[in-house]
C-alpha cells in the first residue's frame, strides 16, 4: 500500500486529540479501527494531511450499561467485543444479532462501531441498528459535549453531522421497556460483502401489544433509512399476519434502492419486505415462547 504522504499523530488524551483537530480542521482524519479509512488511503481516494490515531487514548474501549439500562459504546470498542459480549444477548437482542454479521472476522477484530457510524456508508450495518433502537452519538468538540440523535447523524453518503474539530466518543442506546426483542437480517453475496439489503427490527412489547417498534434499512438509500411509517403501523397493535404484512409493505415503500450489480431496485425492495416480515415473525414466535 502506497498512500500519499501524510502526517501521523498518536495523542494520549482526548484534549490532545481535540487540539490537533482544532489546528488541522478538515485536513485531519481520525484513525480508530481503520477498516474503511485505510483502504481509502491505499486507493488515494483520501489524502488527509494528518492522521490522528486515537488508539492510545484510554477509556474509549468500553461497552457498558448505566444503572438505568442505558447502553454506552466507546469509540474504541471493536466489533469483536460486541460479538463476544456477555452483556448484549437477551438484554440487547438486536445488537447481539447484528454484531456477528458485521463484515468479516478480520474486520471485526479491528473495526469499531463508532467509526462505522462516522464513516456514514449507507451500506453500513450499525447505523440501521442505532436508528431502530433510537440511539444517539456523543460528540466532543471545542465548545464541549453534545448528543446527536442517530436519525440526524448521517447527512448522506460518507457525510456525518460532526462539526470541524469534533470527535465522536460514544454511541448511546436508550434503555428499553417491557419485553424486548429484535434481530438484524442481512443479505450479502459473501461474508464481508456490503449488504445487498439489510433490515434491523427492534420491538418493545407489553403483553401482546407493541409499545415501541424500530425498523431501519441498510443499503437501500443514500443513508440508512428509518422506516417510520412501518414503525407507526405496529405501535399500539398486536403482531398478526395483517399487521406484519402492513409493516413489511410500508418498509418496502420507504426503501429507495438503486439497481446495481448486487441486484435490481425491485429485487432489493422485495428483500426488504421479506426480511421485515421474517424479522417480525421471529419476534412473534419469541413473544409466544
Amino acid at each position: 500500500m502506497y498512500p500519499s504522504r501524510f502526517r501521523y499523530e498518536a495523542p494520549r488524551s482526548l484534549d490532545e486529540a481535540r487540539a490537533l483537530l482544532t489546528r488541522f480542521g478538515d485536513e485531519a482524519k481520525i484513525l480508530a479501527g481503520g477498516q474503511s479509512l485505510v483502504p481509502l488511503l491505499k486507493l488515494r481516494f483520501a489524502a488527509p494531511e494528518l492522521l490522528v490515531d486515537i488508539n492510545n487514548i484510554p477509556g474509549l474501549d468500553h461497552h457498558r450499561e448505566d444503572a438505568d439500562g442505558t447502553l454506552r459504546i466507546g469509540a474504541l470498542c471493536r466489533h469483536v467485543s460486541l460479538e463476544r459480549s456477555a452483556l448484549l444477548p437477551g438484554r440487547h437482542p438486536l445488537m447481539a444479532s447484528a454484531a456477528p454479521l458485521i463484515a468479516d472476522p478480520i474486520v471485526r477484530n479491528r473495526g469499531t462501531l463508532v467509526g462505522s457510524l462516522c464513516h456514514s456508508d449507507p451500506q453500513g450495518d450499525w447505523a440501521s441498528v442505532l436508528l431502530a433502537l433510537g440511539g444517539s452519538i456523543v460528540a466532543l468538540g471545542p465548545s464541549g459535549r453534545r448528543t446527536i440523535p442517530a436519525s440526524e447523524f448521517s447527512l448522506g453518503p460518507f457525510q456525518n453531522a460532526l462539526l470541524p474539530g469534533e470527535i465522536a466518543i460514544e454511541a448511546v442506546v436508550p434503555a428499553a421497556q417491557g419485553h424486548v426483542s429484535g434481530s438484524y437480517l442481512k443479505l450479502e453475496r459473501r461474508v464481508g460483502d456490503f449488504a445487498t439489503a439489510g433490515v434491523a427490527v427492534a420491538l418493545e412489547m407489553s403483553g401482546d401489544t407493541v409499545t415501541r417498534a424500530g425498523i431501519a434499512l441498510t443499503g437501500v438509500g443514500p443513508s440508512n433509512i428509518a422506516a417510520t411509517a412501518a414503525e407507526q403501523a405496529l405501535t399500539g397493535r398486536a403482531l398478526t399476519t395483517d399487521t406484519i404484512d402492513e409493516a413489511a409493505e410500508l418498509a418496502a415503500a420507504a426503501a429507495q434502492p438503486r439497481s446495481d450489480h448486487r441486484g435490481s431496485a425491485a429485487y432489493k425492495r422485495h428483500v426488504v419486505a421479506t426480511f421485515v416480515r421474517r424479522g417480525l415473525q421471529r419476534q412473534e414466535v419469541g413473544a409466544a415462547a
Binding site: Y2, V191, H261, S264, Y267, V271
Partner: protein
C-alpha cells in the same frame, strides 16, 4: 534385510505432509517481493483510465522533477528500442507500453522507476496524458457490428474486430444425424469472465549487471524456461546470459504463464540504469490487466433419439479475447482444447465452430485452471446434458448412464479427434449416486416440494484432456511440450532432484520426492527438490494445464529408472555376481537365490563415488526428457444438492459428493487438496464470481469488494471418493488432476439450482447464480442471460 516399507519412506500412496509448508506457514517463504538486492529501485505502472482512446500527448516533465525519480519510460521510448510491442504466445502482438492508443482500461501507458515505491507512485500521478476518447467495444455483439470501430488498427490488413475463426468435426455427418433426430435439444449460455486472482500478484526483480552483461530476473512465472526462450528470441540478449528465477510463487492458476508488460519494462529499466529494478503489481493491477479466464458465449444443440441415445452435437462459440490475442496455450487449435467437449459420451457425430472477437477489455481467456477452454467445454456439455434429459423427460442419471462410454470402448476416438484411453465411467457415476443417496433424495425432494420447499440435485460427469504434450501436436513458440528431470544421488544416498516444472503451491517438493522413493527406495525426506531457476533446472515447459505429474512426474520416474539401472551394475560389482543375477526390491538389490546377500541403494551410491568397477564412469546422476504419447484422461463425477429460497433467490448447498478417477495417486492428501480447492473455485464461479464492464468499458471486479472469492464461511463441505483406473501410458499410471474440479464442478451446482426450479419454466440462468438473478427467473418464469448487468436506472 528385506525391502524397505514404501509407506514409511514416503513413497507412492503415502499422504506425506507437505515439506514446503514448513516455511510457508512460518512466513519463511521466499517470494519475488522478498528479494531485496543492493541498490534496488522500484517501478510503478501508470495505467489507462479509459477503455479506448487515442493518446494525443504524454507529458512526463513533472514526474522527472520529483526527487528520487530515476527513469520514466513511455511507449515512444520503448518503440525506439523496438520494444513497444511484443509477440504473444498465440501469434498476435501486444502493446508493452501504449504508443498510438489505449485499448482497454488498465492498459500500461508509462512506468516510473524511483528510489522507493511511494515516490514511483507519486511520479505516476504527476504524468499528464491527454486522451481523445473513442467508442468502447465491450462485448462480441458490439465487436461484430458493422459500424464498430476497428480496435486493432495497428495490424496490417485487419478490417474488422475478428480475432480468429476456427472449426472442427464433421459438418455433413452432423447435419445428417440431426435430420434423423426424434428430439433436438437446444441451449445457449454465457460463461462469464473470471480471474484466477492468485493471492500473490505478478512481479519481477530485474537485475542487469553491466560488468558481466548477465541479466537475472526473479519473476512470478509458472514457466521460467519459456520466459527465457521468449526473451532470447525477441531481444538481442544471448540465451546463456539470461537467467530467469522463479522463487516461491503464491498461486498461479494460469495467471502467471504469459509475458506481461511489467516484466519487459522492468527488464529494460534495469538494463538502462544498470541497477536492479523491482516491480510488484498491486491487486487492482492484477485483476484489471492480467490473464483472465472464460468470457465465452455458447450456442449449441443436441440430436437425440427418443430412447435417450445421443446422435450428434453441434455448437458455436464466440470468445471475447479483449484487446490482444494473448492466450498462453500450446495447441494449434485457436480455441484451445474446447473440442474435448462430450469426450466421455458416445455422441456419434459433432461439429464445432468458433470465432474470437477483439474488444476493449483486458486480454486473455485461457487462464484459470481450465486446461485451455476445457472448463467452458465441460460446463456447456453438462448443462446440455441436463437440458436434453429434461426435454426427453428422462432421469438425469439414467440419461448419462445410457450415453457414457462403456469400459470396453477404450481406446475411443472422439468425433473431434481426441483419443480417450481409459476409464470406468459407469462405476464412478454409481459410486456418486450411492454416496449422495440419489433415489432417496428424489423422494425427499418431491415431499419437500409439497411443503413449498425447493430442493435440487445436480450431476456433472466428464473426462478431460490433461497434461500437454505430446510433442507432435503441442508446442509453444515451436518448443515441444515435453518435460524434464535431473537426478543426482550423492555418495551417502541423499539426492537432489531438479525438474523443469514449477510449483505454485501444488506441493511438488513433496510429491516429486515420493516418486524417487517409489522408484529407488530412497526415503522421500532424503531428496531435495529444486525448480524454477533456468541456470540450474533442466529445460522444461512449466506447470499449468495439470501437466506436472503427467509429464514432469513421468520424467522423474524415468530418470530414477536410469539411476537404478546404473545402481544395478554397481550392486553386481559389490556383490561380485553378474548383473543378470541381481534382483531388485524396493531400496535394495540382492543375489537371485540368496536374498540375504544384498546391497542397498545407499551402498550402491557410495560405491559410485568410492568403489566403481573398472571402466565405469564415476558418479550417480542422470537426466530424462519425457514426451508423453498422449494426454491423460481423468474422469470425474460431481453431484451437488441445494435448497433454493424462492423469496430471496438465495440458495444453500446441502451436500457435495465428488468421485475422481485420476489414476494412481502419488500423494492422496495433496490430490484431495487439489480437488477441494477446485470445488471451491467451482462453487465460486457458480454462485458469485464474475468480471464485467459497463458501457463505457469500466471494469467491474477490480478489487475484492467487487470480485468475490468465497471464504471458509460460504464454502460447502466436500465428500470425496475415488476410483483408480491407471493411465495406460504414464510410467506410474497417474493422470492429471489439478483442474478436474474447477472444470467439472460448476455444472453440478448450476444443474442443482435448475433442478430445484424444474417446474418454473426456467431453462437457463447464466452464472453466477446470484440471488437476484435466481429470484428474477422464478418471478418471471424466464431465463436470465448474459453478464449481471451494471445497472444504474436511478
Amino acid at each position: 534385510m528385506t525391502a524397505v516399507d514404501e509407506v514409511k519412506i514416503g513413497g507412492m500412496g503415502a499422504s506425506r505432509r507437505r515439506v514446503e509448508d514448513a516455511r510457508f506457514v512460518r512466513g519463511r517463504g521466499n517470494y519475488v517481493d522478498d528479494i531485496k538486492l543492493p541498490g534496488m529501485l522500484h517501478m510503478e505502472v501508470l495505467r489507462s483510465p479509459l477503455a479506448h482512446a487515442t493518446i494525443t500527448s504524454i507529458d512526463t516533465s513533472k514526474a522527472w522533477e520529483i526527487p528520487g525519480v530515476r527513469l520514466v519510460l513511455t511507449g515512444e521510448m520503448m518503440a525506439q528500442r523496438n520494444l513497444a510491442w511484443m509477440p504473444t504466445l498465440s501469434y498476435d502482438t501486444q502493446a508493452v507500453l501504449a504508443t498510438d492508443k489505449v485499448r482497454f482500461q488498465g492498459q500500461e501507458v508509462c512506468v516510473v522507476i524511483a528510489d522507493d515505491p511511494y515516490i514511483a507512485k507519486d511520479g505516476c500521478e504527476a504524468i499528464v496524458v491527454d486522451y481523445e476518447p473513442l467508442p468502447p467495444v465491450v462485448n462480441p455483439l458490439q465487436s461484430r457490428a458493422a459500424d464498430a470501430p476497428i480496435i486493432r488498427d495497428d495490424k496490417e490488413g485487419q478490417t474488422d474486430n475478428t480475432c480468429y475463426r476456427w472449426e472442427v468435426g464433421d459438418r455433413a455427418a452432423t447435419d445428417r444425424a440431426f435430420a434423423t433426430a426424434d428430439v433436438v435439444s437446444k441451449l445457449k449460455l454465457h460463461y462469464p469472465r473470471s480471474h484466477p486472482s492468485p493471492i500473490e500478484c505478478c512481479g519481477a526483480v530485474a537485475d542487469y549487471n553491466p560488468a558481466t552483461q548477465k541479466l537475472s530476473v526473479f519473476m512470478t512465472t509458472q514457466a521460467p524456461h519459456i520466459i527465457r526462450a521468449a526473451f532470447a528470441l525477441v531481444t538481442e540478449l544471448p540465451e546463456h546470459m539470461i537467467r530467469i528465477i522463479s522463487p516461491d510463487i503464491g498461486g498461479g492458476f494460469g495467471n502467471k504463464v504469459p509475458v506481461y508488460p511489467g516484466y519487459v519494462a522492468a527488464t529494460l529499466a534495469s538494463i538502462l540504469l544498470g541497477k536492479p529494478v523491482k516491480w510488484i503489481e498491486d491487486k487492482t493491477g492484477n485483476l484489471i490487466s492480467t490473464g483472465f479466464g472464460r468470457d465465452m458465449y455458447l450456442d449449441g444443440e443436441m440430436a437425440l433419439r427418443s430412447d435417450g441415445k445421443i446422435l450428434a452435437v453441434r455448437m458455436h462459440a464466440d470468445t471475447d479475447q479483449g484487446a490482444f490475442f494473448s492466450d498462453a496455450q500450446p495447441s494449434k487449435f485457436k480455441i484451445g482444447l474446447m473440442h474435448s467437449a462430450f469426450a466421455c459420451y458416445d455422441v456419434g457425430a459433432g461439429h464445432i465452430t468458433a470465432q474470437g472477437h477483439y474488444t476493449n477489455k483486458a486480454p486473455g481467456g485461457v487462464a484459470y485452471r481450465c486446461s485451455f477452454r476445457v472448463t467452458e467445454a465441460m460446463f456447456f456439455q453438462e448443462r446440455m446434458m441436463q437440458a436434453a434429459a429434461v426435454d426427453l423427460g428422462m432421469d438425469q442419471a439414467e440419461f448419462r448412464r445410457r450415453n457414457l462410454l462403456h469400459d470396453d470402448a477404450f481406446p475411443a476416438r472422439t468425433p473431434f479427434g481426441f483419443l480417450v484411453d481409459s476409464g470406468q465411467y459407469g462405476k464412478c457415476l454409481q459410486i456418486g449416486l450411492d454416496a449422495i443417496g440419489y433415489d432417496q433424495f428424489k423422494i425427499d425432494q418431491a415431499e419437500a416440494r409439497t411443503r413449498g420447499r425447493r430442493l435440487g440435485i445436480g450431476i456433472s460427469t466428464m473426462t478431460e484432456p490433461l497434461g500437454a504434450g505430446n510433442s507432435r501436436e503441442y508446442d509453444i513458440l515451436g518448443i515441444k511440450m515435453f518435460d524434464s528431470a535431473e537426478l543426482r544421488v550423492h555418495m551417502t544416498g541423499k539426492a537432489i532432484l531438479r525438474v523443469g516444472a514449477k510449483s505454485q503451491g501444488q506441493g511438488h517438493e513433496t510429491t516429486w520426492g515420493q516418486i524417487v522413493a517409489h522408484e529407488l527406495g530412497i526415503p522421500a525426506a532424503d531428496v531435495i527438490v529444486e525448480e524454477g531457476d533456468t541456470d540450474t533446472a533442466p529445460f522444461g515447459m512449466g506447470t499449468y494445464a495439470s501437466r506436472s505429474t503427467p509429464v514432469a512426474g513421468a520424467a522423474i520416474a524415468m530418470v530414477s529408472r536410469k539411476i537404478r539401472a546404473k545402481a544395478r551394475k554397481l550392486a553386481a560389482h559389490l556383490l561380485e555376481v553378474s548383473e543378470e543375477d541381481v534382483e531388485w526390491e524396493l531400496g535394495r538389490f540382492y543375489v537371485r537365490g540368496a536374498p540375504e546377500r544384498g546391497a542397498t541403494i545407499q551402498e550402491c551410491a557410495m560405491a559410485a563415488y568410492s568403489n566403481m568397477p573398472d571402466g565405469m564412469e564415476p558418479g550417480l546422476e542422470n537426466n530424462a526428457y519425457y514426451d508423453p504419447p498422449n494426454l491423460t484422461w481423468p474422469f470425474a463425477c460431481y453431484i451437488a444438492t441445494v435448497e433454493v429460497d424462492p423469496a430471496t433467490g438465495v440458495w444453500d448447498v446441502l451436500r457435495v459428493v465428488a468421485v475422481d478417477d485420476c489414476g494412481v495417486r502419488i500423494n492422496p492428501m495433496i490430490v484431495e487438496g487439489q480437488i477441494m480447492g477446485g470445488l471451491t473455485e467451482a462453487y465460486a464461479a457458480a454462485s458469485m464470481q464474475f468480471q464485467t464492464y459497463d458501457a463505457d468499458g469500466n471494469i467491474v471486479g477490480s478489487n475484492y469488494m467487487d470480485y468475490l472469492l468465497p471464504t471458509a464461511w460460504e464454502t460447502p463441505g466436500f465428500e470425496l471418493h475415488e476410483v483408480v483406473t491407471p493411465c495406460p501410458h504414464h510410467p506410474l499410471g497417474a493422470k492429471g488432476v489439478g483442474e478436474c474440479a474447477t472444470v467439472g464442478g460448476p455444472a453440478a451446482f448450476v444443474n442443482a439450482v435448475h433442478d430445484a426450479l424444474s417446474d418454473t419454466g426456467v431453462r437457463n440462468i447464466d452464472m453466477p447464480l446470484l440471488p437476484d438473478r435466481v429470484w428474477q427467473a422464478v418471478q418471471d418464469g424466464q431465463d436470465v442471460s448474459g453478464m449481471p448487468p451494471v445497472r444504474s436506472d436511478a
